[in-house]
Symmetry: D2
Subunit: 366 residues, 4 copies
């Protein structure tokens, strides 16, 4: 079905395949009056661009965004913002041989089962390139959130066995390291670890984290539209993510209540919490503390070792994947996580505006 649309009021629709003419996104429901130009978007796209560091695929894409609608005299008008990125570096020939068999860890087999056939060039719609549209949309969401005093920041927490110190993530460091770790020392170790893995024709998994500061309490809805539920969907919809944690996440299952409860306290005249095991939500609604989401990402499934699989004729075969592939997904996915988090929060904030009768009365009878 229509699985390419995300959000209720701030709604995005992405389109495009890895090796088609272009990729893009339509952002509908953006409030009128936000100053916006292509460079606002480009900054974020450049963070997921391939070919920019030693550890990423040498595939070069300029990923230059063009805004086609929704802006007038430098500001959003409230109508859909359509953005497009032309594909410029397509080596379709590299992919010809994968037309006939199913790559382990990829969606080749499941696409064939669902649709009867597939655009096999570079993974088609299930390619990581699909996320370019998410990032372009997320750039707008982040710019808007900043107007509301909210900062979203994602980074790499670990790569294989290498853990970064994430106790105080600094955006300028995150933007400067090849791995998007907020820890230059761990970054160096991780780069070495990745070089070794690549030498062994292998790939590596990793963990990424996203924090949100400045989010007011009261955002998110009870029951099915819990803020954490929507974040879990948003983040799990990023290809290769296999687990999502909120706050202390998996650790809570081996804890006692007396350890895990966050005591409320007063701080500068406002309600606060002494700890933040909950990661910023209670009952699915933001509690005013830092929101914290963690995602575990599998190793790139395309590796250069010989692998066993079957082909479309039902024969067991051995394959050697060619093409240009990152040894790790995480550093380029960090900005995608940031984008999906921003989109989810912004939409929840819009929906929240009619939660109280008094707010509606103030809004319409002022």
């Amino acid at each position: 079905m229509a699985g390419s649309t995300f959000g209720t009021i701030f709604k995005i629709t992405t389109w495009g395949e890895s090796h088609g003419k272009a990729l893009g996104v339509v952002v509908d429901g953006c409030p009128a009056g936000l100053p916006l130009e292509e460079s606002d978007i480009q900054f974020y796209l450049d963070r997921r661009k391939p070919g920019s560091t030693s550890i990423a695929t040498p595939r070069k894409e300029n990923d230059e965004v063009e805004i086609l609608s929704g802006i007038f005299e430098g500001k959003t008008t409230g109508t859909p913002i359509s953005m497009m990125i032309r594909n410029t570096s397509q080596h379709s020939a590299d992919y010809g041989d994968i037309a006939t068999y199913y790559r382990p860890g990829h969606a080749d087999y499941t696409f064939d089962q669902k649709y009867g056939f597939r655009d096999y060039r570079g993974g088609g719609r299930s390619s990581g390139r699909e996320t370019a549209g998410r990032v372009a949309a997320g750039a707008i969401a982040q710019k808007l959130l900043r107007e509301l005093g909210i900062e979203v920041c994602a980074y790499t927490r670990s790569i294989g066995p290498i853990q970064a110190d994430v106790s105080n993530p600094d955006r300028s460091i995150i933007l400067s390291t090849e791995t998007a770790m907020p820890d230059p020392i761990a970054n160096e170790k991780a780069v070495a670890y990745l070089a070794q893995a690549r030498k062994e024709l292998d790939s590596v998994g990793g963990c990424m984290e996203c924090i949100v500061n400045g989010l007011p309490a009261g955002i998110g809805d009870p029951v099915f539209e819990k803020l954490d539920a929507n974040l879990a969907k948003a983040i799990m919809s990023i290809g290769a993510v296999k687990a999502v944690e909120i706050g202390d996440g998996c650790e809570v299952s081996s804890r006692r209540g007396s350890e895990n409860n966050d005591a409320f306290c007063m701080e500068n005249g406002a309600v606060s919490k002494k700890t933040n095991h909950a990661g910023g939500t209670l009952g699915g609604i933001s509690d005013g503390s830092t929101l914290l989401i963690r995602a575990h990402v599998k190793p790139t499934p395309s590796i250069y070792q010989t692998q066993e699989t079957v082909n479309q004729s039902g024969e067991e075969i051995q394959i050697n994947i060619k093409g240009r592939h990152d040894p790790i997904i995480v550093p380029r996915a960090v900005v995608v996580m940031e984008s999906m988090t921003a989109l989810t929060i912004l939409d929840a904030m819009m929906i929240n505006m009619s939660a109280r009768l008094s707010s509606m009365v103030d809004f319409y009878r002022k």
Copy 2:
């Protein structure tokens, strides 16, 4: 907003508070022709009923379901199935004192921030009792899935430090143990561990798991409506769940690609996989293997120890929570996880029916 509705075609809407007159659910979009009576639903509701085992709250609720619409001559008609459970055991007096302060780990504070005030009796809408409606709806989804050859089964994987052997979960054992573990020996240890925790006026976290067998390949959509994304939302929307994993989940972040990829092979003339690290999905679409989802549940926030918090006047105070509370959430939440999984899968299967033009042509031109 409208956070109480779940699903696109098989759509459920739950309602009701812990201490209101009743709770219930409306199931819309159920296909016509499914034999259904109240006992089909009651069986599942009894699995989450309080007061049924030594380890659960002594609060007694009969939780008797009444079907109010949508059935004619013993079968679903395709119109909404409304189900109601009257609340019969309300000790609202127990909750009077919590009106004025915020219980740690509960949604008291966040509800107040969102709505300006709250129904404080027993947690109101954020009570675990809200899930009764989900379970009633899930019972229908499970009955329908069984007609399609699909079995959904959830169980307790761990309680505090006690791990169950879940290598071959047997539904009859799961239904027979107090903890819903598929492992009688671990169950015994867990019961003892819980008794100890209760004695220490404390509560315990745990982990639950759900598997789905018989699901055909091809279910779920690429991009935002990935099957795992929708499962993540569904499961994370259960109160107290703080992490969701698909397949090997968190472990993938420290793996190599060569370890993590599942090789395709042929088995009885059909495509299969040698391993199932992926947990049954590739690219967000089911691959025909067993689907596996895991959820980490925090300890019950209501504990009998003295806790620190603040009241609505902004004073730091110490509190002692009264009332009747489970020392652990998991055993009663297992059937909720099963329900949410069944609802998600069934909806995805309905949506999938128009994925291929040839299917539509067969359907309408036969």
Copy 3:
């Protein structure tokens, strides 16, 4: 599918059949803080109650509403408001014979084609009784709109050939006439006309109209979610409505632009219009004038004359419908039109709150 839910943020789900145990509605997304009790709802339900006037079916239903959730200490809490009306006057025996054939003008045949069978008692889900849930929900929407300074008022414009004077509709007259006409003289003629039709074993069609005063300019969205488009859907979803007009409606197709354009002017320092051919919307967005919607309703399909039809065995037969039927639908449908209009407008007003960045900034940074 799930065709029983209406609205995006203010979302209602109705359920129940004519001759089942009960009917009802769940209202989700109602802002917290609205004073609400059963009598607020009952007033509206009584307006569509059968058996209350000489011209309606003698079927007696008390239609007593019970609020089951979502209210605490006399106010809405922001959580779902579930309302139920028990069916008390069911003469199912009257309907036994219609199980085997298709009544002309009814949904018997189409339900059978869609679902394979049907609940034939009193029309089941396609009965006019289904609208009780809409009216209960609409009562809440109207109470809330009144807090925002907005009045919704529907009335009967014509019955068969009898036209009412609707130039200045007065709610107290509408509530006092059997036909819901705002014109006592036309009402008298219409009552006589209906008596004559009934004597001739026939039924009569009619036209109803709804106006909205106090609606600010700027409500509704361009393109697919135009305010008039959503009103058209809302009103056309009322059984027996076959045409919906906005403003001058059908007449515009034979007009010149110079006649049809409404000139803007200044009135008391505010932008106004000299005429209101448009009926209160321009480009799908409210323009601050009175909103005007008109609906044409077919004659009750159940008539006492002998009719030709076919039965489920494919034989052409003659039938005589028994049971208790109104000779006209309109007077009882007027309150349904009012309800659907109120629900549509309220939802659009909630969605509109994030249309401008400056509004969001004011809301969250005040």
Copy 4:
């Protein structure tokens, strides 16, 4: 909000303004396997192209569509189909003066009220050019429906006082007349009438009609998602439409039941109806007869006579609109009506596939 998306499973999102860089649409949820190329789309776009006949605006647009994604080896893949039309003939200068005042009958004022400002060039998003995206999407829907044996056909029924004979509409005649009337004689009169209106610096309203043949019985849902309700929304969302009728429409309100009921009969061994006053739906569900929808369209609001209005400073002024405007909207809107009808029906058919348990069992267990 996000008002630019239409449909549940077959979902389209349009974007673009009259005088921006481009316009377009993303079609998501199209089944895999439909042969599709740009010429399939271009045929429909050419039918709404300006500048093609004597009676339309002399503004020339090539309106050349480019398919950017979703097609592989000549067939749809099941992933989003993005289509773009570059704007090539922009005379923005013509529109400079309308920046400061509100044109009667246009959305200038309401956009300003909603968003705080507007893209005033050529109406921006509220321009008729917005429908190019709908038509491109509708072209796909129509091609797909034809595979299911369903034909959608719209035409002009009347222009001002000139009525066409529509008793047997022939598509080749519709495509050949300047007015899209299926009646060459009426067409000639209408062309003369329009020439006269243009001479008088005036514009003209009209009525268009759409029929659907081959639609099976059982499509559409009871209650809110009635087929006629969704059609009403779809058609009323076309700019300038002020009334929508199904079947005999407005006429039913002055009828007797004995006249209006359609008797069922047998025809070639199948259930049929002797008449079709209902226009192909009963209870919101298709009944297997021809579906008939009618729409009344207001005269083009841009006329060359002097008009009264107010400017943004709140002064009453007189204006003379310049630019290039059609004297009538209908002939170019006919293909938009056809598109919206096709989109609505196709989506309803997809949703209908899970209406019966037996269909799901057949689908998944065959």
